[in-house]
Point group: C2
Chain length 245, copies 2
């Protein structure tokens, strides 16, 4: 049976891809990915660089770009996923294996699940884990996401302020993803919850443009880039010791 | 400066290691790992198998085993970490680079942070992310950990029942790690929170002895193995469709 596989390529550093994703990239008949209206795909970029590290290349003939305009309109997004699933199904019906490139991990806040939902009734669907952005952020900061007896919550910039405050209070550690637009509100919630001193900020973790702010007084209280996150940690003391960047 | 690097080797499947961990394994002067009193280390086992996939071997002369008896006694654990850190520091003082093998991700519920805490004042410490067990579980089950507008919490079997119930109610998705001893209590909390039908169980994700239970009525309400987890998901409907195991 033809298979549709979501391949995690990791957070940006091409060395953070797994051996399994590398193997499946090479074996796939079709390598598909979402690109923006200019045709650019960060996930494809990472996959190409990872193969390059091993002296390998990605055959152009295998590539299938799926242009996608990011939207918060549910109907528009649903239509776009329907359309993408139809396109992919055509190859699966010809018994060709398709991998779908995903930044980070396909099953962690990714769009793979929307395609899987549409295709898994008819075809074999599978996901190959990749390193996610909270993991990359915690490594870049040198701060654990959680220790043994602790807990952790993963929130996004879409939560309202009272929700953020209550979760910051309840959990030892917290990650707020997609912290771009809601940065001012997240900063207010950190102060109101008493966790402002425990928080760290990072954007574009492991990429060339990576930026770390450990003293939040130095972070402008204005909207920032989409690929940014806050880490609220019981272990901020571990940051910036000797040799930690 | 000599460096101490926590290397994630992933959850068990040797193909789920990153290119970066493979490279650093080969470059390291010393490869250290925690082993049980019989000398066995799961992390070393995974690392060896991963190198084997690439036709490489791990030089025996590089290996430094750190025997460790798992304990909940804080004093005993602290002493063991002090002792391990001293052992590692001796090599770092000779300017030899040391990697420390970690199952999963070094900064996600791992023991690396305890060593880093002791060594990062004097030496360059760093972590290389690995695929964690919730990621492996979600891939094995075919169920996302979280979709875009959702949230996720990661709890452990150490939480009491009221905490579990409240978090199961508050979060779209939840993972309960180290669910072995507290399985009966977790099952009770799932029922009390109304999330019993949303929950899935997996032990030894990606390993040969992997076991999945999607209908919790079929799970014995008795203590189980340490490497077991529950996933509470808004997307259990995705499990067990065509070709998903």
């Amino acid at each position: 049976m033809a298979s549709f596989i979501g391949l995690g390529v990791g957070p940006g550093d091409p060395e953070l891809i797994t051996l399994k994703s590398i193997r499946l990239l090479q074996e796939a008949d079709i390598v598909t990915f979402i690109c923006n209206t200019e045709g650019y795909s960060q996930a494809l970029d990472i996959a190409r660089q990872a193969l390059q590290l091993l002296g390998l290349t990605l055959e152009e003939a295998k590539l299938l770009a799926i242009p996608f305009r990011m939207t918060r309109e549910r109907d528009e997004a649903n239509q776009a996923y329907d359309h993408a699933a139809d396109k992919i199904a055509r190859y699966l019906d010809e018994d060709r294996s398709v991998v779908f490139l995903c930044e980070g991990d396909p099953l962690f806040f990714g769009s793979f699940a929307y395609l899987q939902e549409r295709l898994s009734g008819r075809y074999h669907c599978e996901a190959v884990s990749g390193i996610s952005s909270p993991q990359a952020a915690s490594a870049a900061l040198g701060v654990p996401l959680a220790l043994l007896a602790e807990n952790l919550c993963v929130l996004s910039g879409r939560h309202n302020e009272p929700e953020l405050i209550s979760h910051f209070r309840d959990f030892d550690n917290a990650v707020v993803l997609k912290a771009g637009r809601s940065r001012p509100q997240i900063l207010r919630a950190l102060k109101a919850s008493g966790r402002y001193q425990d928080a760290l900020y990072i954007e574009y973790a492991t990429r060339a443009e990576q930026r770390i702010v450990t003293d939040l007084d130095k972070l402008e209280p204005i909207p920032g880039p989409y690929f940014s996150l806050f880490l609220v940690s019981r272990h901020k003391n571990l940051v910036n010791r000797k040799g930690n960047s």
